[in-house]
Protein backbone atom coordinates (compact mmCIF):
# COMPACT_ATOMS: atom_id res chain seq x y z
CA UNK A 1 0.00 0.00 0.00
CA UNK A 2 1.19 3.51 -0.72
CA UNK A 3 2.33 5.87 1.99
CA UNK A 4 -0.64 7.11 4.04
CA UNK A 5 -0.77 10.91 4.20
CA UNK A 6 -2.12 12.43 7.40
CA UNK A 7 -3.03 15.93 8.55
CA UNK A 8 -3.18 16.49 12.32
CA UNK A 9 -5.83 18.92 13.56
CA UNK A 10 -5.64 20.01 17.19
CA UNK A 11 -5.95 23.37 18.93
CA UNK A 12 -2.92 22.65 21.07
CA UNK A 13 0.47 22.91 19.33
CA UNK A 14 1.79 20.53 21.98
CA UNK A 15 -0.75 17.89 21.02
CA UNK A 16 -0.02 18.40 17.31
CA UNK A 17 3.65 17.66 17.98
CA UNK A 18 2.89 14.63 20.18
CA UNK A 19 0.41 13.12 17.71
CA UNK A 20 2.64 13.85 14.72
CA UNK A 21 5.63 12.16 16.39
CA UNK A 22 3.63 9.06 17.26
CA UNK A 23 2.26 8.81 13.72
CA UNK A 24 5.69 9.29 12.13
CA UNK A 25 7.17 6.66 14.46
CA UNK A 26 4.51 4.26 13.21
CA UNK A 27 5.40 4.79 9.59
CA UNK A 28 2.78 7.35 8.57
CA UNK A 29 3.56 10.52 6.71
CA UNK A 30 2.32 13.64 8.50
CA UNK A 31 1.94 16.13 5.68
CA UNK A 32 0.39 19.03 7.54
CA UNK A 33 -1.32 20.31 10.66
CA UNK A 34 -3.92 22.85 11.71
CA UNK A 35 -4.93 24.53 14.97
CA UNK A 36 -8.39 25.73 14.01
CA UNK A 37 -11.32 24.86 11.79
CA UNK A 38 -10.43 27.55 9.26
CA UNK A 39 -6.85 26.30 9.04
CA UNK A 40 -8.00 22.70 8.76
CA UNK A 41 -10.21 23.52 5.77
CA UNK A 42 -7.36 25.39 4.11
CA UNK A 43 -4.77 22.67 4.70
CA UNK A 44 -7.02 19.81 3.60
CA UNK A 45 -8.07 21.66 0.45
CA UNK A 46 -4.41 22.24 -0.42
CA UNK A 47 -2.75 18.96 0.60
CA UNK A 48 -5.58 16.43 0.07
CA UNK A 49 -4.52 13.94 2.75
CA UNK A 50 -5.89 10.39 3.10
CA UNK A 51 -6.61 10.78 6.81
CA UNK A 52 -7.17 13.63 9.26
CA UNK A 53 -6.82 13.20 13.01
CA UNK A 54 -9.27 15.53 14.70
CA UNK A 55 -9.44 16.97 18.18
CA UNK A 56 -12.93 17.44 19.64
CA UNK A 57 -12.41 20.94 21.02
CA UNK A 58 -11.42 23.51 18.46
CA UNK A 59 -11.65 27.27 18.17
CA UNK A 60 -14.28 28.20 15.61
CA UNK A 61 -16.28 24.97 15.87
CA UNK A 62 -15.99 21.56 17.48
CA UNK A 63 -14.30 18.54 15.92
CA UNK A 64 -17.52 17.21 14.45
CA UNK A 65 -18.44 20.52 12.81
CA UNK A 66 -14.95 20.63 11.43
CA UNK A 67 -15.36 17.05 10.15
CA UNK A 68 -18.54 18.06 8.33
CA UNK A 69 -16.77 21.03 6.76
CA UNK A 70 -13.91 18.79 5.59
CA UNK A 71 -16.33 16.22 4.16
CA UNK A 72 -17.84 18.93 1.99
CA UNK A 73 -14.37 19.43 0.50
CA UNK A 74 -13.70 15.69 0.22
CA UNK A 75 -16.53 13.26 0.98
CA UNK A 76 -14.10 10.32 1.01
CA UNK A 77 -11.72 11.85 3.54
CA UNK A 78 -11.17 9.58 6.55
CA UNK A 79 -11.44 11.41 9.86
CA UNK A 80 -10.22 9.89 13.13
CA UNK A 81 -11.29 11.65 16.31
CA UNK A 82 -8.48 11.92 18.84
CA UNK A 83 -9.85 13.27 22.06
CA UNK A 84 -9.37 13.02 25.81
CA UNK A 85 -13.14 12.88 26.22
CA UNK A 86 -14.68 9.68 24.96
CA UNK A 87 -18.15 8.88 26.23
CA UNK A 88 -21.12 7.26 24.58
CA UNK A 89 -22.67 10.55 23.58
CA UNK A 90 -19.52 11.67 21.77
CA UNK A 91 -19.20 8.29 20.04
CA UNK A 92 -22.85 8.45 18.98
CA UNK A 93 -22.42 11.95 17.59
CA UNK A 94 -19.16 10.96 15.91
CA UNK A 95 -20.89 8.08 14.12
CA UNK A 96 -23.57 10.43 12.88
CA UNK A 97 -20.91 12.80 11.59
CA UNK A 98 -19.45 9.95 9.48
CA UNK A 99 -16.25 9.74 11.45
CA UNK A 100 -14.14 6.71 10.50
CA UNK A 101 -12.85 6.00 14.01
CA UNK A 102 -11.96 7.42 17.39
CA UNK A 103 -9.13 7.00 19.87
CA UNK A 104 -8.63 8.47 23.29
CA UNK A 105 -5.78 10.68 24.46
CA UNK A 106 -3.14 9.98 25.65
CA UNK A 107 -2.53 8.39 22.32
CA UNK A 108 -1.36 4.82 22.06
CA UNK A 109 0.84 4.40 18.98
CA UNK A 110 -0.18 0.85 18.31
CA UNK A 111 -3.89 1.57 18.71
CA UNK A 112 -4.00 4.46 16.25
CA UNK A 113 -1.72 2.66 13.83
CA UNK A 114 -4.00 -0.38 13.73
CA UNK A 115 -7.06 1.82 13.39
CA UNK A 116 -5.68 3.83 10.45
CA UNK A 117 -4.47 0.69 8.68
CA UNK A 118 -7.89 -0.89 9.14
CA UNK A 119 -9.65 2.21 7.79
CA UNK A 120 -7.39 2.30 4.73
CA UNK A 121 -7.81 -1.44 4.14
CA UNK A 122 -11.59 -0.92 4.23
CA UNK A 123 -11.25 1.80 1.66
CA UNK A 124 -9.32 -0.60 -0.53
CA UNK A 125 -11.98 -3.25 0.01
CA UNK A 126 -14.71 -0.91 -1.24
CA UNK A 127 -12.72 -0.01 -4.33
CA UNK A 128 -12.32 -3.73 -5.00
CA UNK A 129 -16.08 -4.24 -4.64
CA UNK A 130 -16.75 -1.30 -6.93
CA UNK A 131 -14.59 -2.90 -9.60
CA UNK A 132 -16.27 -6.29 -9.57
CA UNK A 133 -19.83 -6.22 -8.27
CA UNK A 134 -21.66 -5.40 -11.47
CA UNK A 135 -19.87 -8.08 -13.42
CA UNK A 136 -20.94 -10.59 -10.76
CA UNK A 137 -24.59 -9.51 -10.98
CA UNK A 138 -24.57 -9.69 -14.78
CA UNK A 139 -22.95 -13.10 -14.64
CA UNK A 140 -25.56 -14.34 -12.16
CA UNK A 141 -28.32 -12.92 -14.39
CA UNK A 142 -26.86 -14.62 -17.47
CA UNK A 143 -26.46 -17.94 -15.63
CA UNK A 144 -30.01 -17.82 -14.34
CA UNK A 145 -31.45 -17.02 -17.79
CA UNK A 146 -29.36 -19.77 -19.28
CA UNK A 147 -30.52 -22.31 -16.72
CA UNK A 148 -34.20 -21.47 -16.84
CA UNK A 149 -34.71 -20.36 -20.44
CA UNK A 150 -31.79 -21.99 -22.23
CA UNK A 151 -30.97 -18.61 -23.68
CA UNK A 152 -28.53 -15.92 -22.71
CA UNK A 153 -29.50 -12.25 -22.50
CA UNK A 154 -27.98 -9.54 -24.67
CA UNK A 155 -26.82 -6.54 -22.66
CA UNK A 156 -27.58 -3.12 -24.07
CA UNK A 157 -26.48 0.26 -22.82
CA UNK A 158 -24.86 0.34 -19.38
CA UNK A 159 -24.56 3.36 -17.12
CA UNK A 160 -23.39 4.34 -13.67
CA UNK A 161 -25.71 7.21 -12.93
CA UNK A 162 -27.66 7.29 -9.66
CA UNK A 163 -30.82 8.81 -11.07
CA UNK A 164 -34.55 8.67 -10.55
CA UNK A 165 -36.15 5.95 -12.69
CA UNK A 166 -39.59 5.27 -14.02
CA UNK A 167 -40.63 1.68 -13.64
CA UNK A 168 -41.69 -0.37 -16.63
CA UNK A 169 -44.47 -1.86 -14.51
CA UNK A 170 -42.93 -4.31 -12.09
CA UNK A 171 -39.91 -3.73 -9.89
CA UNK A 172 -38.32 -6.26 -7.58
CA UNK A 173 -36.26 -4.76 -4.78
CA UNK A 174 -33.69 -6.86 -2.93
CA UNK A 175 -31.82 -5.34 -0.03
CA UNK A 176 -28.20 -6.40 0.35
CA UNK A 177 -26.63 -6.49 3.77
CA UNK A 178 -23.05 -7.13 4.81
CA UNK A 179 -19.79 -5.26 5.09
CA UNK A 180 -21.36 -2.76 2.71
CA UNK A 181 -25.08 -2.34 2.26
CA UNK A 182 -26.78 -2.00 -1.06
CA UNK A 183 -29.64 -3.18 -3.19
CA UNK A 184 -30.55 -4.74 -6.50
CA UNK A 185 -33.61 -3.66 -8.45
CA UNK A 186 -34.87 -5.68 -11.41
CA UNK A 187 -37.39 -3.73 -13.40
CA UNK A 188 -39.53 -5.04 -16.25
CA UNK A 189 -42.92 -4.67 -17.88
CA UNK A 190 -45.92 -6.63 -16.60
CA UNK A 191 -45.83 -8.51 -19.91
CA UNK A 192 -42.19 -9.58 -19.41
CA UNK A 193 -42.95 -10.70 -15.85
CA UNK A 194 -45.98 -12.67 -17.03
CA UNK A 195 -44.03 -14.35 -19.80
CA UNK A 196 -41.21 -15.25 -17.39
CA UNK A 197 -43.67 -16.80 -14.95
CA UNK A 198 -45.51 -18.65 -17.74
CA UNK A 199 -42.32 -20.27 -19.01
CA UNK A 200 -41.16 -21.23 -15.54
CA UNK A 201 -44.47 -22.61 -14.34
CA UNK A 202 -45.22 -24.05 -17.77
CA UNK A 203 -48.78 -22.78 -17.83
CA UNK A 204 -50.76 -19.81 -19.07
CA UNK A 205 -53.18 -17.36 -17.46
CA UNK A 206 -51.56 -16.73 -14.16
CA UNK A 207 -52.82 -14.86 -11.14
CA UNK A 208 -50.91 -11.72 -10.19
CA UNK A 209 -49.86 -13.42 -6.98
CA UNK A 210 -48.23 -16.29 -8.89
CA UNK A 211 -46.35 -13.89 -11.15
CA UNK A 212 -45.11 -11.95 -8.12
CA UNK A 213 -43.92 -15.15 -6.44
CA UNK A 214 -42.00 -16.32 -9.49
CA UNK A 215 -40.42 -12.95 -10.22
CA UNK A 216 -39.49 -12.52 -6.54
CA UNK A 217 -37.95 -15.96 -6.37
CA UNK A 218 -35.96 -15.65 -9.57
CA UNK A 219 -34.63 -12.24 -8.47
CA UNK A 220 -33.67 -13.79 -5.15
CA UNK A 221 -31.67 -16.47 -6.97
CA UNK A 222 -29.88 -13.89 -9.11
CA UNK A 223 -28.97 -11.62 -6.20
CA UNK A 224 -28.04 -14.59 -3.99
CA UNK A 225 -25.75 -16.07 -6.64
CA UNK A 226 -24.13 -12.70 -7.35
CA UNK A 227 -23.47 -12.09 -3.65
CA UNK A 228 -22.01 -15.59 -3.27
CA UNK A 229 -19.63 -14.88 -6.15
CA UNK A 230 -18.52 -11.65 -4.48
CA UNK A 231 -18.14 -13.34 -1.07
CA UNK A 232 -16.04 -16.07 -2.66
CA UNK A 233 -13.60 -13.47 -3.96
CA UNK A 234 -13.27 -12.03 -0.48
CA UNK A 235 -15.25 -13.36 2.46
CA UNK A 236 -14.83 -10.08 4.34
CA UNK A 237 -17.78 -8.74 2.31
CA UNK A 238 -20.15 -11.19 4.01
CA UNK A 239 -23.02 -10.14 1.72
CA UNK A 240 -26.51 -11.49 2.36
CA UNK A 241 -29.76 -10.83 0.55
CA UNK A 242 -33.00 -9.77 2.24
CA UNK A 243 -36.24 -11.35 0.98
CA UNK A 244 -37.59 -9.72 -2.19
CA UNK A 245 -40.18 -6.97 -2.27
CA UNK A 246 -42.19 -6.78 -5.49
CA UNK A 247 -43.69 -3.46 -6.48
CA UNK A 248 -46.15 -3.17 -9.33
CA UNK A 249 -48.51 -0.60 -10.72
CA UNK A 250 -49.36 1.85 -13.45
CA UNK A 251 -47.09 4.65 -12.31
CA UNK A 252 -44.01 3.97 -10.22
CA UNK A 253 -41.12 6.33 -9.79
CA UNK A 254 -38.05 4.89 -8.13
CA UNK A 255 -36.15 7.58 -6.24
CA UNK A 256 -32.44 8.14 -6.46
CA UNK A 257 -30.67 5.57 -4.33
CA UNK A 258 -28.23 7.85 -2.50
CA UNK A 259 -25.64 5.15 -3.00
CA UNK A 260 -21.92 5.63 -3.51
CA UNK A 261 -21.83 3.43 -6.55
CA UNK A 262 -24.64 2.46 -8.92
CA UNK A 263 -24.57 0.52 -12.17
CA UNK A 264 -27.44 -0.39 -14.42
CA UNK A 265 -27.89 -2.15 -17.69
CA UNK A 266 -30.77 -3.10 -19.93
CA UNK A 267 -30.86 -6.80 -20.75
CA UNK A 268 -32.71 -8.25 -23.71
CA UNK A 269 -34.07 -11.64 -22.68
CA UNK A 270 -36.39 -14.13 -24.37
CA UNK A 271 -39.18 -12.80 -22.15
CA UNK A 272 -38.52 -9.13 -22.91
CA UNK A 273 -36.33 -6.36 -21.56
CA UNK A 274 -35.19 -6.31 -17.94
CA UNK A 275 -33.32 -3.43 -16.34
CA UNK A 276 -30.77 -4.55 -13.76
CA UNK A 277 -29.80 -1.85 -11.30
CA UNK A 278 -27.34 -2.52 -8.48
CA UNK A 279 -25.74 -0.16 -6.00
CA UNK A 280 -23.73 -0.12 -2.80
CA UNK A 281 -22.98 2.31 -0.01
CA UNK A 282 -19.48 3.04 1.14
CA UNK A 283 -20.43 3.60 4.76
CA UNK A 284 -20.22 0.46 6.79
CA UNK A 285 -23.31 -0.94 8.34
CA UNK A 286 -24.13 -1.17 12.00
CA UNK A 287 -21.67 1.48 12.94
Amino acid sequence: MNEIKIVVVDDSPFSVTMISNILEENGFSVVGSANSMAEAVEVVAKIKPDVVTMDMTMPGGDGLECTKALHILDPDLKVVIVSSMMDEEIIHKAKKAKVSGYVQKPLDGEEISLLIHRIMADEHLFVELEEMYFQAFKEAFTDTCNKFFKSVPVYLEENTEDAEQTSRGISVVLGIIGKYGGRMILDMSAETAKKTAEILLAKEILKTEEIINVIGEISNIIAGNACSMINKKNNLYGLRVAPPTVVYGEAITISKGELNTVSSVLADTVCGQVCINVGFNRSEQNE
Binding site: I177, P243, V246, V247, K256, E258, G279
Partner: protein, 154 residues
Amino acid sequence: MNKQYLEAFSKAYLDIFPQFGIVDVSLMKESQGGRIIETAGVACIVGIVGELAGNVIFSMSEDVGKRIASYMMGGMEVEAFDEIAQSAISELGNMLAASACIGISEFGKTLDISTPTLMHGDFSVSGSYETVHHLEMSVDSLDFHIYVSLEERS
Protein backbone atom coordinates in the same frame (compact mmCIF):
# COMPACT_ATOMS: atom_id res chain seq x y z
CA MET B 1 -44.88 -13.07 14.60
CA ASN B 2 -44.07 -12.24 18.20
CA LYS B 3 -46.17 -9.29 19.40
CA GLN B 4 -43.12 -7.71 20.99
CA TYR B 5 -41.40 -7.48 17.63
CA LEU B 6 -44.31 -5.58 16.16
CA GLU B 7 -44.37 -3.26 19.15
CA ALA B 8 -40.73 -2.41 18.44
CA PHE B 9 -41.89 -0.81 15.18
CA SER B 10 -44.64 1.31 16.72
CA LYS B 11 -42.32 2.24 19.57
CA ALA B 12 -39.62 3.33 17.08
CA TYR B 13 -42.22 5.52 15.39
CA LEU B 14 -43.46 7.05 18.65
CA ASP B 15 -39.87 7.66 19.82
CA ILE B 16 -38.43 9.10 16.63
CA PHE B 17 -41.15 11.46 15.39
CA PRO B 18 -41.04 13.68 18.51
CA GLN B 19 -37.30 14.11 17.88
CA PHE B 20 -38.27 16.14 14.82
CA GLY B 21 -40.76 18.15 16.82
CA ILE B 22 -43.74 16.07 15.66
CA VAL B 23 -45.64 15.53 18.89
CA ASP B 24 -49.10 14.61 17.59
CA VAL B 25 -48.35 10.95 16.88
CA SER B 26 -50.15 7.78 17.91
CA LEU B 27 -50.84 4.16 17.09
CA MET B 28 -54.41 4.00 15.81
CA LYS B 29 -54.93 0.38 14.90
CA GLU B 30 -53.13 -2.89 14.48
CA SER B 31 -54.31 -5.46 11.95
CA GLN B 32 -53.17 -8.39 9.93
CA GLY B 33 -53.63 -8.81 6.20
CA GLY B 34 -52.49 -10.66 3.11
CA ARG B 35 -49.40 -10.20 1.11
CA ILE B 36 -50.48 -7.45 -1.26
CA ILE B 37 -50.36 -3.92 0.06
CA GLU B 38 -52.05 -0.98 -1.65
CA THR B 39 -49.71 1.90 -0.95
CA ALA B 40 -50.80 5.44 -0.21
CA GLY B 41 -48.55 7.01 -2.87
CA VAL B 42 -45.11 6.82 -1.25
CA ALA B 43 -43.41 3.66 -0.04
CA CYS B 44 -40.07 3.29 1.64
CA ILE B 45 -38.92 -0.33 1.51
CA VAL B 46 -36.34 -1.71 3.90
CA GLY B 47 -35.12 -5.32 3.74
CA ILE B 48 -34.28 -7.17 6.94
CA VAL B 49 -32.02 -10.21 7.41
CA GLY B 50 -30.71 -12.00 10.46
CA GLU B 51 -32.48 -14.29 12.90
CA LEU B 52 -35.68 -12.81 11.49
CA ALA B 53 -35.95 -11.95 7.82
CA GLY B 54 -38.44 -10.09 5.67
CA ASN B 55 -39.32 -6.55 4.87
CA VAL B 56 -40.84 -3.45 6.36
CA ILE B 57 -42.65 -0.90 4.23
CA PHE B 58 -43.42 2.61 5.40
CA SER B 59 -46.20 4.13 3.35
CA MET B 60 -47.86 7.53 3.28
CA SER B 61 -49.39 10.00 0.84
CA GLU B 62 -47.11 12.51 -0.86
CA ASP B 63 -48.72 15.26 1.23
CA VAL B 64 -47.88 13.47 4.46
CA GLY B 65 -44.38 12.81 3.10
CA LYS B 66 -43.94 16.53 2.43
CA ARG B 67 -45.21 17.45 5.88
CA ILE B 68 -42.84 15.04 7.64
CA ALA B 69 -39.91 16.14 5.45
CA SER B 70 -40.65 19.73 6.38
CA TYR B 71 -40.52 18.91 10.11
CA MET B 72 -37.31 16.95 9.57
CA MET B 73 -35.71 19.97 7.94
CA GLY B 74 -36.54 22.23 10.83
CA GLY B 75 -39.77 23.65 9.43
CA MET B 76 -38.46 24.50 5.99
CA GLU B 77 -41.33 24.77 3.52
CA VAL B 78 -41.59 21.73 1.26
CA GLU B 79 -43.72 22.50 -1.77
CA ALA B 80 -43.17 19.41 -3.86
CA PHE B 81 -42.25 15.83 -3.10
CA ASP B 82 -38.90 16.52 -4.68
CA GLU B 83 -35.44 15.05 -4.30
CA ILE B 84 -34.85 16.64 -0.89
CA ALA B 85 -38.19 15.46 0.46
CA GLN B 86 -37.56 11.97 -0.96
CA SER B 87 -34.14 11.89 0.64
CA ALA B 88 -35.65 12.90 3.99
CA ILE B 89 -38.25 10.12 3.83
CA SER B 90 -35.55 7.57 2.90
CA GLU B 91 -33.59 8.68 5.93
CA LEU B 92 -36.72 8.44 8.07
CA GLY B 93 -37.32 4.86 6.88
CA ASN B 94 -33.75 4.00 7.68
CA MET B 95 -34.01 5.49 11.17
CA LEU B 96 -37.34 3.82 11.95
CA ALA B 97 -36.19 0.39 10.74
CA ALA B 98 -32.84 0.67 12.53
CA SER B 99 -34.48 1.75 15.77
CA ALA B 100 -37.07 -1.06 15.58
CA CYS B 101 -34.32 -3.61 14.96
CA ILE B 102 -32.37 -2.35 17.95
CA GLY B 103 -35.62 -2.75 19.93
CA ILE B 104 -36.01 -6.32 18.68
CA SER B 105 -32.39 -7.11 19.52
CA GLU B 106 -33.32 -6.58 23.18
CA PHE B 107 -35.34 -9.79 22.86
CA GLY B 108 -32.20 -11.60 21.75
CA LYS B 109 -32.77 -11.49 17.97
CA THR B 110 -30.07 -9.86 15.93
CA LEU B 111 -31.13 -8.22 12.70
CA ASP B 112 -29.53 -6.14 9.99
CA ILE B 113 -31.32 -3.75 7.69
CA SER B 114 -30.67 -2.90 4.05
CA THR B 115 -30.41 0.49 2.41
CA PRO B 116 -33.93 1.88 1.96
CA THR B 117 -35.51 2.05 -1.49
CA LEU B 118 -38.06 4.79 -2.01
CA MET B 119 -40.81 4.67 -4.60
CA HIS B 120 -43.71 6.95 -5.30
CA GLY B 121 -46.67 6.96 -7.67
CA ASP B 122 -49.62 4.65 -7.95
CA PHE B 123 -48.71 1.08 -7.14
CA SER B 124 -48.99 -1.99 -4.93
CA VAL B 125 -46.26 -3.76 -3.00
CA SER B 126 -45.94 -7.36 -1.89
CA GLY B 127 -44.78 -8.20 1.61
CA SER B 128 -42.05 -10.83 1.93
CA TYR B 129 -44.41 -13.45 3.36
CA GLU B 130 -48.07 -14.42 3.28
CA THR B 131 -48.87 -12.53 6.46
CA VAL B 132 -48.33 -8.81 6.67
CA HIS B 133 -48.90 -6.91 9.90
CA HIS B 134 -50.27 -3.44 9.45
CA LEU B 135 -49.72 -0.66 11.98
CA GLU B 136 -51.92 2.33 11.28
CA MET B 137 -50.16 5.28 12.79
CA SER B 138 -51.21 8.89 12.83
CA VAL B 139 -49.15 12.00 12.42
CA ASP B 140 -50.90 15.36 12.94
CA SER B 141 -54.19 13.42 12.50
CA LEU B 142 -53.01 12.11 9.10
CA ASP B 143 -52.24 8.52 8.17
CA PHE B 144 -48.87 6.81 8.17
CA HIS B 145 -48.69 3.07 7.57
CA ILE B 146 -46.12 0.56 8.69
CA TYR B 147 -46.31 -2.89 7.09
CA VAL B 148 -44.16 -5.58 8.65
CA SER B 149 -43.61 -9.01 7.14
CA LEU B 150 -41.03 -10.95 9.13
CA GLU B 151 -40.42 -14.62 9.77
CA GLU B 152 -38.01 -16.42 12.03
CA ARG B 153 -35.11 -18.09 10.31
CA SER B 154 -33.87 -21.26 11.89
